[in-house]
Symmetry: C2
Subunit: 529 residues, 2 copies
Amino acid sequence: MTELSGHSLIAGTEVRGNAGSSQGIDPRTDSALDPAYSALDADQTESATRAAAAAFRSYRVTSPEARSAFLDRIAANIEAVRAPLVERAMAETGLPEARLNGEVSRTVGQLRLFAEVVRTGHFHGARIDPARPDRTPLPRLDIRLRKVSLGPVAVFGASNFPLAFSVAGGDTASALAAGCPVVVKAHNAHPGTSEIVGRAITAAVADSGFDPGVFSLVYGSGSTIGQQLAADPRIAAIGFTGSRSAGLALSATAENRPVPIPVYAEMSSINPVVVLPGSLSAEGLGAEVLASQFITSLTGSSGQLCTAPGLVFVPTGEAGDALLEQIANQLPEQTGQTMLTSGIARAFGEGVEKLQSQPGVQTVAAGVPGEGANAPAPIVLTASAKDLMANEALSEEIFGAASLVVRYRDVEELQAALEGLEGQLTTTLQATESDLGVARDLLPVLEDLCGRILWGGWPTGVEVGHAMVHGGPFPATSAPATTSVGSLAIERFLRPVSYQSLPEALLPEPVRGDNPWSAMQLVDGEVKG
Amino acid sequence: MTELSGHSLIAGTEVRGNAGSSQGIDPRTDSALDPAYSALDADQTESATRAAAAAFRSYRVTSPEARSAFLDRIAANIEAVRAPLVERAMAETGLPEARLNGEVSRTVGQLRLFAEVVRTGHFHGARIDPARPDRTPLPRLDIRLRKVSLGPVAVFGASNFPLAFSVAGGDTASALAAGCPVVVKAHNAHPGTSEIVGRAITAAVADSGFDPGVFSLVYGSGSTIGQQLAADPRIAAIGFTGSRSAGLALSATAENRPVPIPVYAEMSSINPVVVLPGSLSAEGLGAEVLASQFITSLTGSSGQLCTAPGLVFVPTGEAGDALLEQIANQLPEQTGQTMLTSGIARAFGEGVEKLQSQPGVQTVAAGVPGEGANAPAPIVLTASAKDLMANEALSEEIFGAASLVVRYRDVEELQAALEGLEGQLTTTLQATESDLGVARDLLPVLEDLCGRILWGGWPTGVEVGHAMVHGGPFPATSAPATTSVGSLAIERFLRPVSYQSLPEALLPEPVRGDNPWSAMQLVDGEVKG
């Protein structure tokens, strides 16, 4: 593969930044990784959005074949650099090889899913209300609707998924699929990983014969070029995955522009798991298995997953006590894994300390710290539902392998506690058939609380498909009507337009009578054909 | 019909407000209309949102039959009071009887359209990705998606459509169809009209056996109870049609809540009409007909339509001159019609005066003021495209029958002028086959500029159907990905939720395998046949 340059990729060209530089850090050793990455100044950053704006009109009219081939090409280019990509990502993130290999596959699969979405064409949202010249009192005119591309999108990658939620992650894939050029701000925690993927996309743009402005990768800090991208009049939408504070800062800027734009920020979630009595009974998984599965879900990727189970509701009484005993037995065998950055590891420690100091909070068990830097011990704490409801500090997200077991006395208290929570990405019911009645009552509460409801299983592991919602009420996301994973994510970068009485020669393909792209069309409100 | 009470209707109960009162005004005479309407205080207003929140869980699970019958019942109840409703609306708005009768029909038709939307069930957005236990490396779990109701919606009616964009207008109809209780803030310019319609809805709620909190109609000022509704934690979304300043004030409040909510505000548009050369030629309509149609579109409802043609691009040269001459000939025959309120008439006069005082702006012609109060003369002004591009004041909306004819020298200048405009609800091409080449080049510009593109015809008159978009980029609306008219408007009040591995007994109807509601389901991304 190409040697890393340490520079931004703006519309196909390597650009050395004028605003200083910084290096990736290997969190396993806290040592700096070469090369240094140069940061762009404001003018250089603007050249990326200018190029994206210039590329928009030609890119948005690309055919389904050309656009889906482009997405497939990006996927193939990433596959082709799998080994050096995983190696660099391991050095920059401390994540294990198997996890990163899986993430490459997921990233590639996601690009191919969106290629398929582009080919299928449901996303055009085509609707045709044919003219009715004989209607009284007024004739009806021919009106057709399709969705158009929104414009250039700025994408901010996440630290915890250096591939699947980063340069060629879900935001980029769905924006490109929607016909929108993309400017990615590289995450400073994995600059080399970002460059390798950025080169894969850049090559695919060139091989597709598209305007090079369709993609740029820019380096710099969030508070300078990140804010600049959010304020740039050429940027039409923002995709973001990361912390609540950074997401809210971008939202504030985007809302206060002369022309506000949507920010699709996936921010904060503690993913309640509700253990119902059946699951602790002889018919259910039982305490030992539940504890084991919980610990696996909590400690995977050092707990640095948006959907890690940070809150577990467990009934009071003996059966629930048994679950805590199992956790107390099993967790000490767990060794802490390296976290993504020393800053994240420090924040984890501070978060745990703050939670431990809250009234009513007790430690159930902790694992042991890992060897090397930044590998704190996983920990499980406990408190009562009453304490949870009385103190917001008990439901603050701690990014990492820490979870709070909340004991509830009865279903009423459980429901009240769930209704008191902020919006979540997921909620999980650990239950058996004997819990169906309770689950049925809780379902509307969970629907109002989150974007995905699980029956059994654990919230970590987000399937990339047509029916996935990775989203949820604020503050899980800033745009609860959307998802950032799965094919529905393309909707974020589209806008409906109606055409009234347009001659056939001018009609866009998705709403033409001969339907050359074989798009799904609703004719008079009914699916055609 | 029932005598007007002059009070709010909160969850089926008449509530006398504690915060003073005000009266509707007949704009034809500037005389006050009985009864006085009592304004709610903060506690009283909160009782409406509390009732809406309490009604939400039972209303959102109503069956398609029950919910669509409810919408049909509202329609029938409004039909039943058509005569007194039109009479009161005439007194409160000064709008002509035929227009208001048409608006009743439109309102009723809109409710019935949404009843049909509920029965058809496409809006559930159901998606099913079945389990694939044999997939490697990991099995796929069963994941299903449907859209759930967002929560109680606050609706702010418009002055210019006292029926179709007011108490039982598109926002209310689409929110109720989506399973959301509604709290309407009555527009103070038509309080009696609002009460009559509010009673029709209230009766339909009772006859449907629903929780009375499904609907409330509250009276008070926008700056007090309006702002209170936008800030209320029980309100999940806002539908608004009105001025830019009021829409932005609601948006600011909604964005700065602890939990921000979406504001669907339809605000400001001058609806450019582009006269291309062909339309002025022998093959086209020609100057005389174009002038006549333009004046009809401009002066209807005294120009107080969101889609009134406030900006007309006309080529320089003789053919364009002829169009201006025709306007100059025909407009003086037009008599001003009564505007909705004295405040609106005053703002119209100020807007015209401001526009006339701008450099390069000249008056083409004016009509004559109508008899009685608040009936200013319609007016058409002109300027060059260069002046338009140099001065934002030339593209500010003047609510009423005033329009600016902008002369363009060539297609390049036309395109530059269009690209310099703010977001619009509509743009219209007056063109013939000889203009197809130019129109094809302009189409992407228009798609980025507005929500609806017309080939011929005039933008006033918004069809309520499946393919209509009444929306557009900011500041036409605050939510460019949505429409406030047509069946797609229901999407504003829904949110997707995924269900992972849920037992059939718990699955919501739209995603059940036996599909009891016959909803459209995408299975593995394909429409199930």
